[in-house]
Subunit: 238 residues, 2 copies
């Protein structure tokens, strides 16, 4: 983390502990980003091996969350932090949780990739999710980048994309319902695509949640449950 906030402690050891935690969050974030990317690729390219790798790697994400959680708690008990440090540790626990959930959704997309690859290639589902996939990957990457820099200046650009993700999800849903109605033999397959689309839509939500935790971390404000408009207004007010 490039923030000036870290590195100001008299105890060199405390500085080091906080830096280590941040690095671990970034490692976890990188892994989750990779998991999402691989899951999407496995889904669109019908790559079973890649999908299996995503499922196999999910326990690494889970393990990292537990480590981060436990280290934050230990630092809280030993160092009794206040102000920015305390907010950072609380935010980190919450961010790690959101990332773990995003990892679960990547696993879900991978599971659907495997299910779909075993059915006949009656209709191509590749194009269905591509746009939404790129949106959620941008959001997740943006959120992690903001964390790395402890900088929330452009945070509403990330949360602002969620409207597009939701709109895209509704479109996919509508298109798939039409296909189901056209031919009932499409139903099971279409539902599996819907589950994958739903998982992606949730990843967008988690990226928004991470953004909200970052705002809390940096300026101490709890901005949950605000609309995008309200959030933009709040972030402009000094």
């Amino acid at each position: 983390m490039e923030s000036k906030e870290i590195g100001h402690h008299i105890s060199q050891k405390f500085n080091k502990e906080l830096e280590d935690i941040c690095n671990k969050v970034l490692t976890m974030g990188g892994l989750v980003e990779q998991q999402i990317e691989m899951a999407v690729k496995a889904f669109t390219a019908r790559d079973i091996e890649l999908a299996e790798l995503v499922i196999k790697q999910d326990n690494q994400v889970d393990a990292l969350e537990m480590e981060i959680d436990s280290e934050c708690t230990q630092i809280m008990a030993l160092r009794q932090p206040t102000a920015f440090d305390l907010r950072m540790l609380i935010a980190v626990i919450k961010i790690a949780r959101e990332m773990e959930r995003a990892g679960d959704k990547a696993e879900r997309i991978a599971e659907m990739a495997i299910k779909l690859s075993s059915t006949d290639n009656q209709f191509d589902h590749k194009y269905e999710l591509e746009h939404m996939a790129s949106l959620i990957m941008e959001m997740m990457h943006g959120a992690l980048d903001a964390f790395a820099r402890a900088n929330i200046e452009n945070i509403t650009e990330i949360t602002g994309k969620d409207v597009n993700v939701n709109r895209e999800y509704e479109n996919i849903l509508r298109r798939l319902i039409t296909r189901m109605m056209e031919d009932p033999r499409n139903i099971t397959r279409a539902l599996d695509i819907i589950w994958a689309a739903r998982a992606m839509e949730r990843i967008g939500d988690y990226a928004c949640n991470i953004s909200e935790h970052l705002i809390y971390m940096v300026n101490g404000e709890d901005v949950r449950h605000l609309t995008q408009q309200e959030l933009e207004k709040r972030m402009k007010t000094p």
Copy 2:
């Protein structure tokens, strides 16, 4: 909370603060339980007014979560708690988050109740979800009761019910897919029932998560990502 753990502090004010937090969690829990119950009732009885009430009340749940969160952080900063107190505050932040998500799912069920009530009564969806609904309400109630007593002795009974919830969800899904295949005119309606069923299934997961946070609170162990069998074994080992 009846726990002997609270009430041992030299500072009467600190005791009071922790007690207040616990009471607020119980209030929030009671509200979420009520929301779930009303949403299920609105869904099965096609009661639009009740569904609208659930949606309207969700911001009370959200507001309580934010209050609990902020009070826990303040206590951490001012009292610099350790051991049980620190674990309790961290667990409470997490438990409140799970309850807020459960409240969101109750809202989702209520939304589906409203959508379904506007369609013609071509097939009765009442019986579809009743069994699953009673299971998740038992789980949520059990988890809150365990929190109120700070007692995790029978916690695996709660988490053990999740297998039944998942099985029930799979059954509902299968039955509804059959209905969709039988008559494509059922598709939209069946999907709305699936969304409600999915929301209930997730509430079961949140009750399990709350149970896991309680285990951490009481004995300091992080039992996430264990199977039910592993958890039962762990909880038996003194």
